[in-house]
Symmetry: C2
Amino acid sequence: MTLRNRCQLCSVRDCAPCSELTAGTADELARIVHRRRIPMGQILYGGVNQAKTFSIIVEGVVKLVNVQPDGSNQIVGLQFPSEFVGRPFAEGAPMVAEAATDLEVCAFSGSAFETLMQTHPDLERTIFKRTLDDLDTARQWMSMIARKTAEERVASLLMLIARKFGGKAEMAGLTSGALEFNLPLSRTEIAECLGLRLETVSRQFAALKAEGIITTGRRRGLKVADLTALGQRAQGLLHA
Amino acid sequence: MTLRNRCQLCSVRDCAPCSELTAGTADELARIVHRRRIPMGQILYGGVNQAKTFSIIVEGVVKLVNVQPDGSNQIVGLQFPSEFVGRPFAEGAPMVAEAATDLEVCAFSGSAFETLMQTHPDLERTIFKRTLDDLDTARQWMSMIARKTAEERVASLLMLIARKFGGKAEMAGLTSGALEFNLPLSRTEIAECLGLRLETVSRQFAALKAEGIITTGRRRGLKVADLTALGQRAQGLLHA
DNA sequence: CGATGACTTGACTGAGTTCAAAAGCTGTGG
DNA sequence: CCACAGCTTTTGAACTCAGTCAAGTCATCG
């Protein structure tokens, strides 16, 4: 019970996987959790000689990177607060999960978590459902990359991030008004997400600025002046 | 036991999900299965007013199609014999699964199968693992579409199909020799898989023919004359 | 302040799209 | 058996969007 007290105050307590568990399972989970701060750039799983771990993101963004034989990186997924990060039942993961920003996570050792999944079907079921959602998301992204123009891709990603990030700060403004936040990704990373070159991304930002739809601030600051217009450029929204 | 006799003769018996189950669960599954022949073009799940069903492919190929708002189709996955087709825990599926060729499947009603998953953890675990594999596959495809050239994409898809299809006919020739089979997809469908136009696909076929790497026969016949060369054009192989 | 790294801008190129027409297959009916 | 319709596939030619290469600007920090 004392263990779960911390969870009562958790900022993602009602959307994270743990919220879908029975009280008993949640207690067991709380017993093996390690709350951690992780600096930008650190690997969560994958790569060489990396001990298997699972995490639930409390704060920050994780990028799933596929390193190509030619050395280029493709970002194949982004994980936001409340989402589960890890690849159960795999020895050598083909992807690398890396902190795109500084993180706050609930981390679990691979063996402890997998054991708990074996004995608690509700935990396994929850992670299974999240995996199915991730699969739908990955396939939507694939469609986007395959068919959309550079402008549509950039607008789509900005809309996605705006909904995840700006959303919590200014829910009221989500439908029409302005929205301001810091991008969790560099231009290079945005390009790696969208299957574009960073110069192309930069030009699309310039075009959106010229149309008065966005403004860029210092560092990674972004202000979306016209969310509706941005949504139109995106030609259909992505979930996750 | 009589029920499971049919399974003893099944062509995918040692790679399908059912092979990973305990005898008891396999018996339960056999009790609710319907062996079906499905004509090319029929929808397995998704779309409007479609009763939820799950299938294991015995023969043929299923394409997972994402219908875009603008009417174009993106194929986001292919499923081959022994693979599981279905989307558990979803009301309205965002994708449509359609028979790319005539099929032979083991079909299960949605409710019966999901009930069985609830009560038999080994079944749920097996499908969970397949889903994780599908997720890895989807992400690899995404990388391919985002970064590879038209030639590399076409070669990659042909290699994938060659391994799945030609493989069973001529295992011996897989490493170096020639390989002949019928493509399960039209030019249009290949284009929809790869994020290309059908004209571009046709031109890449022409180029591969000119180099003596492949020959096309009547209908959808394809002969891979130089598997090694085709693999080189693919610049890295895809699984599934 | 000069150095380093992230971003922007410009000019040119080229792979893939687009539009259009021709060529192959398959099946049907006289 | 041929002629014709309805397909899919191939080929051609012009165009365009995004990639490439190369400067140039801006921000942050020792």
